[in-house]
Symmetry: C2
Subunit: 234 residues, 2 copies
């Protein structure tokens, strides 16, 4: 086992609650953090700004904003002009795969994170996916994460030489309320995070997209007021 002072992790950061709490968990476990955020042609830059705030707040060693323009081929309400679904019920959110699914997104993000990690000599990668209160994205499920872990160690020089990579997905089995609690327990300022898929020009969340609704549900069930200044009162 590496000494605490040498432990390093690459953490995927979207500026939302889940990835920020995953980062707080990695920090709490003694890792120094190399965070990576993707400027992938999403509808707005609020989440990139939020990821910068979170990185600063958690005093990461390095924060990389990596451009990979998925809007060049589209295929999702988040990377094209398709409308973001609004005002859906919890049942609707939890049924099927919505228009906000971005083809191969986590595979592209994890691959780039893997390349950066190998270059840095880092073998631990944290990702804040959850397969409980989530949007049904296939690349958030435990079987997907396991398959990527196998792939990483076949794909890389370090992996085939036996210096194996590991994916940490500490939120995989947590409800949103538990994630809110965990972040709060670790002293994370969740007010720095941004969740909305379709904010107004001032960055104010729409309050109606799936991501806003899951956030509201999480805080409500946790019995905690959302500290985000821009949060809609519910």
């Amino acid at each position: 086992m590496r000494a605490a002072s040498q432990k390093k992790a690459v953490v995927l950061s979207s500026g939302g609650i889940d990835s920020s709490v995953a980062m707080a968990i990695a920090k709490d476990k003694g890792y120094s953090i190399y965070s990576i955020t993707f400027d992938y042609g999403q509808r707005h830059s609020c989440e990139i700004e939020a990821a910068r705030r979170v990185a600063e707040s958690l005093k990461v060693k390095k924060h990389l904003v990596f451009p990979v323009n998925l809007r060049s081929f589209g295929g999702s309400a988040l990377t094209s002009d398709k409308a973001v679904p609004k005002g859906r019920s919890t049942e609707e959110i939890f049924y099927g795969i919505p228009e906000t699914y971005v083809p191969a997104r986590n595979t592209i993000f994890l691959s780039i994170a893997l390349g950066w990690a190998e270059t840095l000599g880092i073998r631990d990668i944290f990702i804040g996916v959850t397969a409980v209160d989530y949007s049904g994205y296939p690349d958030c499920r435990p079987e997907y994460i396991s398959a990527f872990e196998i792939l990483m160690n076949l794909a890389t020089k370090a992996g085939v030489e036996g210096d194996e990579f590991k994916i940490h997905a500490p939120l995989l089995n947590l409800h949103k309320a538990e994630i809110v609690h965990e972040g709060t327990r670790l002293g994370m300022d969740l007010g720095l995070t941004h969740s909305c898929y379709d904010p107004g020009e001032n960055g104010r969340p729409c309050g109606l997209c799936d991501s806003c609704l899951l956030r509201q549900k999480g805080f409500m069930e946790a019995g905690i007021k959302d500290p985000a200044e821009t949060a809609r009162e519910i």
Copy 2:
């Protein structure tokens, strides 16, 4: 089985011999071709130009040059200022993983190709990797390709809905000379391709990097003269 007129494939294209022959094979099998080339911060743009020539020559349906700047974190002689190894013997080339290995390169490329394919409704992806006369890159081996195929169908909406993706790696078990023969048999103009890792300013291949040496070996063993105008006489 889809009718021949509807068959479409995404083909990864580097502008080198292998990916170009893989594309010629896909075309010969009746696929209409969507080729993708990565502008990944490689040392020169010759291969991007070569990929454009090949796409034009094979009359692809669409050719996408996708920027993903791996030079922003380096880690390879191809994406940093590290020297490209020159003048190595065949034994040296076939032993171990050289400095030209790019961390996670094929995983990043295949992931982006997968996202594009899913958006286009395409399920067949061709990649010209070979695990015979090659540089020992772990992400060119059959076990890697199989693992990526499993991953694709866990990662994507189409995959989990049973409309499965397939990776075609038709050169996997071919020697370079066999690849040269196959390209020639299919009427591919191999003179359009570019292999050198470290060409001169005029695009002239160095003749000494592993990629040049493997190309020379392939043409020599095939008993065919390299038709590239810029090819070094050997």
